[in-house]
């Protein structure tokens, strides 16, 4: 990690909602081509982390870097254009647009002529989306919407995909399929930073992880280290 420059780096970031201190002196690094998991219970600051990356919440202190570029203080649009694609919490697909139009919106920042090619790539990754391409996104099941949200993020050809609770509301089988797809996307060259409550699943595919508690990173390490740490086992894997 230390020898090459990370793709995403938080340096001592503090964020506030009004006077409420959410992230406290938080630092993360996500290396190129890694899968990094961010674990933590409700209210720990996981979603705030995602919003901070996207510029929806601005840090009061510290800095955020994407490769060589400092991205804190920039607009969401600029950050997305620089190569960050979100799969937001609750999926946030456009309910009254068709599946195909949702994918096209994912490619909004692109001007090249290979968009159709990428739509086909998403369809081959999620054949279900191809079957439903003219259906309104809001009429699909939660699992299908999650696939669409991931496909839509892929359409931006991101360097970094950030996923906020991709397993939320999905059955165990669907969760497994979504995680398989995340691994597949990572193999094709996209770096992944994901927030997850399902620590076991997340650490199974991640190379490293961070544990966030009330706004502080209380533990970090390789996925193996976290899986064998007593703290993680007790708090997230339900062992006693």
């Amino acid at each position: 990690m230390d020898e090459k420059q990370p793709l995403l780096e938080f340096r001592d970031v503090d964020t506030f909602y009004g006077s409420l201190h959410i992230l406290k002196d938080v630092s993360y690094t996500v290396g190129e081509h890694e899968i990094v998991a961010l674990l933590g219970s409700n209210g720990a600051g996981k979603t705030t982390t995602m919003k901070t990356i996207l510029g929806l919440v601005q840090p009061r202190d510290g800095s955020i870097h994407l490769g060589d570029t400092r991205i804190d203080g920039r607009s969401t649009r600029e950050i997305v254009t620089l190569g960050v694609a979100p799969v937001p919490e609750g999926r946030r697909v456009f309910p009254k647009l068709t599946v195909l139009d949702n994918l096209k919106m994912g490619a909004w920042t692109r001007k090249d002529r290979e968009i159709q090619q990428d739509i086909d790539r998403v369809y081959s990754l999620f054949p279900r989306l191809a079957e439903r391409k003219n259906q309104l996104a809001g009429t699909m099941s939660g699992g299908e919407q999650q696939m669409l949200a991931i496909g839509r993020a892929l359409m931006a050809r991101p360097r970094l995909m950030i996923l906020d609770e991709p397993s939320m509301g999905l059955s165990p089988i669907l969760t497994e399929r979504v995680f398989d797809t995340i691994v597949e996307i990572n193999k094709q060259g996209t770096t992944i930073f994901m927030v997850e409550q399902n620590a076991y699943m997340a650490l199974n595919i991640a190379s490293r992880g961070y544990v966030l508690q009330t706004g502080r990173v209380i533990l970090s390490g390789t996925a193996q280290e976290l899986l064998s740490s007593d703290m993680v086992r007790k708090a997230y894997l339900g062992e006693t």
């Binding site: 969401t76 649009r77 997305v80 946030r92 697909v93 456009f94 647009l97 919106m105 920042t109």
Partner: protein, 304 residues
């Protein structure tokens, strides 16, 4: 039949203005009270152009001259209204984007008052008459007379509505407008420039009002500084009737309101004229009580 024709013409005009209300509501949930005054502004822009381009001493205006004069005034009114709409949004509404919803609503009323007073200063309190830009000729449909101007208004309104529908549903820009309407934050996460999309919405809605104003002038022959405000209230009723935020609903609502008002006016040998306003606003109240989502709306109605 006469009543239906008059109602359709009126309804087409209401529909065009209603589109501006419904598009803006769909995207930022604001009832843009200034919209009707933008309409008046469009008419005031068109009047001097028509005066200049039409030979006023000649009641038989050559067809070529009519087409030229109308086209130029439509383009000018649409362009200037579009710009006015964007300017209003930029200086009056955008700074309040994250304020409580009541604040932009009150601002909209304020903008309307400012515009109305400016229009009053510009053209005075009396109705301004326009030259006859198109020589009337009358045809007969199913035994009822219909003028060429009436046909023109209906045809142009249909063309504008079809064009708008295609723009919203088929182009990427139109889809982005709908995406912003459905989930503004998610749209910004796609890299969509939300402020620009909102500006485009004001541009298109206001330009439609400007173009509509010229056809209103051709049909009515005169316009006053507050004509747009009154017409705007009817159009707003139409937008609510169709389901505010719903484009096709605004079109349908406009036609229905037009037919209702023309029917009421025809009652009692013309004495119904005094009654069409109360009836229309009573309709508005009834809709809000019994079907607040409007004719085409559902509770999760598509916005824009």
């Amino acid at each position: 039949m006469d009543v239906i024709i008059a109602g359709l013409v009126l309804g087409a005009l209401y529909a065009i203005v209603a589109l501006g209300y419904t598009m803006v509501y769909g995207i930022i949930e604001l009832i843009n009270f200034a919209h009707g005054d933008v309409f008046t502004f469009g008419a005031f822009v068109a009047i001097p152009i028509l005066n200049r381009l039409v030979n006023q001493n000649d009641f038989n205006v050559p067809v070529g001259q009519s087409i030229f004069a109308v086209t130029v005034s439509v383009l000018a009114a649409a362009a200037l209204c579009g710009i006015l709409g964007v300017v209003i949004e930029r200086i009056a509404y955008r700074p309040l984007r994250n304020a409580p919803r009541l604040a932009p609503l009150i601002t909209a009323i304020g903008v309307s008052l400012i515009l109305e007073n400016a229009l009053f200063q510009w053209q005075g309190g009396l109705p301004v008459f326009t030259p006859v830009a198109i020589s009337r000729s009358t045809y007969t449909i199913l035994g009822s007379p219909i003028t060429n101007v009436q046909i023109l208004v209906i045809v142009v309104a249909i063309l504008m509505m079809v064009a708008l529908d295609l723009f919203i549903n088929r182009t990427n820009l139109g889809k982005a407008m709908r995406a912003v309407a459905q989930d503004r934050e998610a749209a910004s996460m796609m890299g969509i420039n939300v402020d620009r999309i909102i500006a485009v919405t004001f541009l298109v809605g206001s330009a439609l009002a400007g173009a509509g104003a010229v056809f209103y002038l051709l049909y009515e022959g005169s316009v006053g500084y507050n004509s747009g405000f009154t017409l705007g209230l009817f159009a707003f009723t139409a937008a609510v009737l169709g389901g505010i935020g719903n484009i096709r609903g605004a079109m349908l609502g406009g036609i229905v309101i037009g037919l209702i008002s023309s029917w009421i006016e025809s009652l009692g040998n013309g004495s119904g004229t005094e009654w069409y306003e109360p009836v229309i606003f009573a309709t508005l109240v009834l809709i809000l009580v019994f079907r607040p989502a409007g004719l085409l709306g559902t509770n999760t109605t598509e916005k824009v």
